[in-house]
C-alpha cells in the first residue's frame, strides 16, 4: 500500500486527541440516525472541502482512507442487489433484484459509509497513542491506572506479532507445521495467549518497580491541553451535523432508522 509519512494538517494537528475523538462522535452519531442520501452527501461534501483546506491531498486520502474507500462500494453493492425492492425492477437473478428502491438505498449507504468512515480515519491520522493517553487521563479525567495500563499493554502488541512469527517457524521446525490452517491457528492462538499473560505479568512487575500503582498522586511529564482550536473543531463538527440533518429535513428525505 502507498504510505505517506505524517502529512501535516492545519488546525486538526493542534487539537487534543480527546477533542478529536469528541468531534468525530459529534459529527458521525447524528448521521447514524437517518438513512437518506441527502444528509450523507451534504456531510461528505462539506467534509471533503474542509479536509482539502486542512491539507489532505488526494494521495493522502487514498493512502489513509483506502479501507473505507473499498468498504463503501461493497456495502452499497449488497444494498443494490438485496435491498428492500421498491418501484420499477431493472434486473433480477434468484434472490438479487435491482429496483428503484434498492438503487436509492445503495447510493445512500455508500455515501453514508464514506461520510462516517473518512472523518474518523482522517481525524485520527496523526494521533500518537501516548498523546491520546495523556489526553484521556488529564482532559477526560479517566483513571490513570486504566489509561496507562492500556497504553503499556498496547505496546506489547508489536511484541506479540514477533512472537507469532517465531511460533509459526518453530512449529515448522518441530514437525507440526503441516497441520491444516485452522488447527494450527487454534493451537498457536492458545499458545500466544499463554505467552501474553506471562509478558503482561512481567510488565506489571516492571511498572510496579517504577512506583506505578501506589496511593501517591501522580504527575504528568507532558501537559495535555485544550484551547481554541479544540473548540473550533467541535463547533465545525456540530455545524456539519446540523447542516446535514437540516438539508435532509428541508429536502424531505429525512428518514430516521426507527421509522
Amino acid at each position: 500500500m502507498i504510505t505517506v509519512a505524517h502529512p501535516r494538517l492545519h488546525l486538526v494537528d493542534r487539537v487534543n486527541p480527546v477533542s478529536r475523538l469528541a468531534a468525530a462522535m459529534l459529527l458521525t452519531t447524528p448521521l447514524l440516525l437517518t438513512v437518506d442520501w441527502v444528509s450523507a452527501a451534504v456531510a461528505l461534501c462539506v467534509q471533503l472541502v474542509l479536509f482539502a483546506i486542512a491539507g489532505v491531498t488526494p494521495k493522502v486520502l487514498i493512502a489513509r482512507g483506502w479501507p473505507i474507500l473499498i468498504a463503501a462500494p461493497i456495502a452499497g453493492l449488497s444494498m443494490l442487489l438485496y435491498g428492500q425492492p421498491e418501484g420499477t425492477e431493472y434486473w433480477s437473478f434468484w434472490l438479487a433484484r435491482i429496483t428503484d428502491g434498492s438503487i436509492e438505498l445503495a447510493v445512500a449507504v455508500t455515501v453514508r459509509v464514506l461520510a462516517i468512515g473518512l472523518p474518523a480515519v482522517l481525524l485520527f491520522m496523526n494521533v500518537d497513542p501516548t498523546e491520546l493517553a495523556d489526553g484521556l487521563a488529564q482532559v477526560a479525567k479517566l483513571p490513570s491506572r486504566f489509561v496507562l495500563g492500556a497504553l503499556a499493554g498496547a505496546r506489547l502488541v508489536g511484541l506479540f506479532m514477533e512472537d507469532w512469527r517465531a511460533m509459526a517457524l518453530s512449529r515448522r521446525a518441530r514437525g507440526i507445521g503441516d497441520h491444516g490452517v485452522i488447527r494450527r491457528f487454534a493451537t498457536m492462538a492458545f499458545a500466544l495467549l499463554v505467552l501474553a499473560i506471562r509478558r503482561g505479568s512481567k510488565l506489571a512487575t516492571s511498572m510496579e518497580a517504577r512506583g506505578f500503582g501506589s496511593e501517591h498522586p501522580r504527575t504528568w511529564a507532558r501537559e495535555s491541553r485544550v484551547g481554541w482550536p479544540d473548540a473550533a473543531l467541535l463547533c465545525i463538527a456540530a455545524g456539519i451535523a446540523v447542516l446535514a440533518l437540516g438539508c435532509a429535513v428541508w429536502a424531505g428525505t429525512y428518514h430516521p432508522v426507527w421509522a
Binding site: L169, S170, A173, R174, G175, T205, R210, G211, T219
Partner: protein, 496 residues
C-alpha cells in the same frame, strides 16, 4: 532528597530473621536472613538458582505485594521502614530487556517512574536528560523504544530507575541476556552512576567477573535459602570457591572443565552449504547478501557477530525455516535422503529427521502441557510406534537430567531446564544437523557444562552442529569451525 548535583542520600537495609514463602509453595524461598547493608555499600549477591536471590531484591523494591502473593516472616527494613511504604527509595532493574520497556518513546519511558513518584513536571525533564546522559544513551527523547538493541534497552531501564534518584539501586541479573558489548555498556553505566551518586547497591549475577571490581562486599546464599558467607569480595570468593562452583556461579579463574574444540575431520563431507545467499525475515528486506558457507559433517560450527548482523536469520535460513532471498542452501544427498536438495522445500515432518532447529526463546517452542508430552511431539509427527517413542523420550530425559520433571509443565521450568528441554525436543527426532540459537544465554556454570558436554557428545556421534553464540567459552569448546559474520563480510577459521 534531590538537589541540583543529582546526589542522593544512600539507603540502609536491615533484615532480621527475614524469610519469604511464595503462595502455594511448601518450602520458604528465603529463611532466617540477618543482613545489614550500610548506606553506600555495594553488594554482590551470589547463590545457586532457586536460592531466593531475586525474592530478596523484589522484597527490597517493595514489589512483592500483599499476603495473597506470599507469606513473610521476620522484618525487612529500608531506612527503618517497610519497603512497600517508601516506594522510590529503591529501584529495581530486571533481567529481560523486552519486558522492562513500558512506553513507546525513550523520554516518556524514563519519565514514567518520576511521574509515579509525583515529581513536579519542570523537575522531571532535567532528571530524564541527566539519567540518559549518565547511562550514555545518546538518542532523542522521542526516539522509539522498540528500535533499541538489548544493551540499549537495559540502559534505558537503568535510566528509568536512576531518574527516580533511588537511595538503593537493585539489579537482578541485568546482563544475563546481553552480548559482551551490551554487558560492558551496562557495567560502565552502573559504575559511573554509583561513583557520582554514592547510592547503596545490590546486584544479583552469575558472572562474578563483571562486578567483582565494582562491589565492596559479597554475600552468598545457600541452596536452602540461608546466608552462608559474607565479606570482602576477593576473600569470600577464594574462601567459598568450591561452594560457589557447586552452586553454578561463574567464579573468576575457574574456566569450565570441558574439552577444547578440535579441527573438523580432514576428509569430512559437507552436510549443508550455502552459495551466494541473501537473507532476511521478510521478502522485501534483505539483511545480508553474498554469503557462502559450508557445514562439515560431524563437526561443530560456531557463528558469531555483532547484534543485528543477521546471525539468527542466517541460522533459520540454513535450517530450512526461512526462504533464501537470493542464492541457495543445499543439503548433501545423504542428508536430503531422497528429497530435493533445498531444505525450504521439505515438509515440516520431513525436516524433523534432517535438520533440528532450537530457537533463542524457549517459550516460543513449547506446544504441550508436560515435559514428557513435549518430547513426544516429534516421535508422534514421525509416526513412531509407542515402544520406540517411550524408549527415545526416556533416553533423552535421562541424558538431559529432566527425568524427575517429566510430568512438569514446560513453562514452570527454570531457564536452564527450558533450554535443555528445547534441545531435547530437537534431538529426540535424531536429525543429521542440529542448529542452535544462543544456547547458553542465562545459563549458570553447571548447566552450561552439562549442555556443552551433551552437544559435544552429539558431534562425536556424527551429528553436524551449527550454533549462533556470543559466548567466548562456548566458542572455545565447540568452535571446530568458527564463522564470524562481521559488518562487512563472513570470515571463516578452523580450530587449531
Amino acid at each position: 532528597m534531590a538537589n541540583d548535583s543529582g546526589a542522593i542520600s544512600p539507603a540502609r537495609v536491615e533484615a532480621r530473621g527475614w524469610g519469604w514463602r511464595h503462595a502455594g509453595r511448601l518450602r520458604s524461598a528465603l529463611d532466617g536472613i540477618d543482613l545489614i547493608v550500610s548506606p553506600g555499600e555495594r553488594v554482590l549477591l551470589l547463590g545457586p538458582s532457586g536460592s531466593g536471590k531475586s525474592t530478596l531484591l523484589h522484597a527490597l523494591a517493595g514489589v512483592h505485594g500483599g499476603a495473597e502473593e506470599g507469606e513473610e516472616t521476620g522484618t525487612l527494613l529500608l531506612d527503618g521502614e517497610w519497603p512497600g511504604a517508601v516506594r522510590g527509595r529503591a529501584s529495581l532493574v530486571l533481567q529481560d530487556p523486552d519486558s522492562q520497556v513500558i512506553l513507546a518513546r525513550v523520554g516518556d519511558d524514563v519519565a514514567f517512574g518520576c511521574e509515579n513518584l509525583g515529581i513536579p513536571r519542570d523537575e522531571i525533564w532535567p532528571r530524564v536528560r541527566r539519567a540518559l546522559d549518565e547511562v550514555g544513551l545518546d538518542v532523542p527523547l522521542d526516539h522509539s523504544t522498540s528500535a533499541l538493541s538489548g544493551g540499549q534497552k537495559q540502559r534505558l531501564a537503568l535510566a528509568g530507575a536512576l531518574a527516580m534518584r533511588p537511595g538503593l539501586l537493585l539489579l537482578d541479573e541485568p546482563t544475563a541476556n546481553l552480548d559482551p558489548a551490551g554487558v560492558h555498556e551496562v557495567r560502565q553505566a552502573v559504575a559511573r552512576t554509583l561513583d557520582r551518586t554514592g547510592a547503596t547497591f545490590v546486584v544479583v549475577e552469575h558472572r562474578v567477573d563483571v562486578w567483582i571490581d565494582l562491589v565492596t562486599r559479597v554475600v552468598v546464599l545457600g541452596r536452602d535459602g540461608r546466608l552462608i558467607a559474607d565479606g570482602e569480595p576477593h576473600a569470600v570468593i577464594s574462601a567459598q570457591r568450591d561452594e560457589l562452583l557447586a552452586a553454578g556461579v561463574w567464579v573468576p579463574g575457574a574456566p569450565p572443565a570441558v574439552a577444547a574444540a578440535r579441527p573438523a575431520p580432514a576428509a569430512s563431507v559437507v552436510d549443508l552449504e550455502a552459495f551466494d545467499l541473501a537473507i532476511g525475515r521478510r521478502s522485501d528486506a534483505v539483511v545480508r547478501s553474498g554469503l557462502s558457507l559450508a557445514l562439515p559433517r560431524a563437526a561443530s560450527t560456531v557463528l558469531t557477530g555483532p547484534n543485528g548482523a543477521g546471525k539468527s536469520t542466517l541460522a533459520l535460513t540454513m535450517g530450512g525455516l526461512l526462504s533464501p532471498l537470493g542464492g541457495t542452501v543445499r543439503a548433501s544427498a545423504e542428508l536430503a535422503d531422497g528429497l530435493r536438495a533445498e531444505p525450504i522445500r521439505w515438509r515440516s515432518r520431513e525436516l524433523l529427521t534432517r535438520i533440528g532447529t532450537v530457537f533463542q526463546e524457549p517459550e516460543h517452542q513449547f506446544v504441550a502441557s508436560t515435559v514428557q508430552r513435549e518430547l513426544e511431539v516429534a516421535p508422534r509427527a514421525l509416526g513412531l510406534d509407542a515402544v520406540t517413542t517411550a524408549r527415545r523420550t526416556g533416553e533423552v530425559l535421562e541424558r538431559l537430567g529432566l527425568d524427575r520433571l517429566a510430568q512438569a509443565n514446560p513453562f514452570t521450568l527454570s531457564g536452564g531446564e527450558q533450554r535443555r528441554l528445547t534441545v531435547g525436543c530437537a534431538i529426540v527426532a535424531q536429525p543429521g544437523v542440529v542448529i542452535l540459537d544462543e544456547p547458553t544465554f542465562g545459563q549458570d556454570r553447571l548447566t552450561w557444562i552439562e549442555l556443552v558436554t551433551l552437544l559435544r557428545g552429539l558431534v562425536d556421534g556424527g551429528t553436524t552442529l551449527l550454533s549462533v553464540s556470543h559466548d567466548a567459552a562456548y566458542r572455545d569448546a565447540l568452535g571446530d569451525q568458527h564463522l564470524d559474520l562481521g559488518s562487512d563480510a563472513l570470515r571463516m577459521e578452523a580450530a587449531a
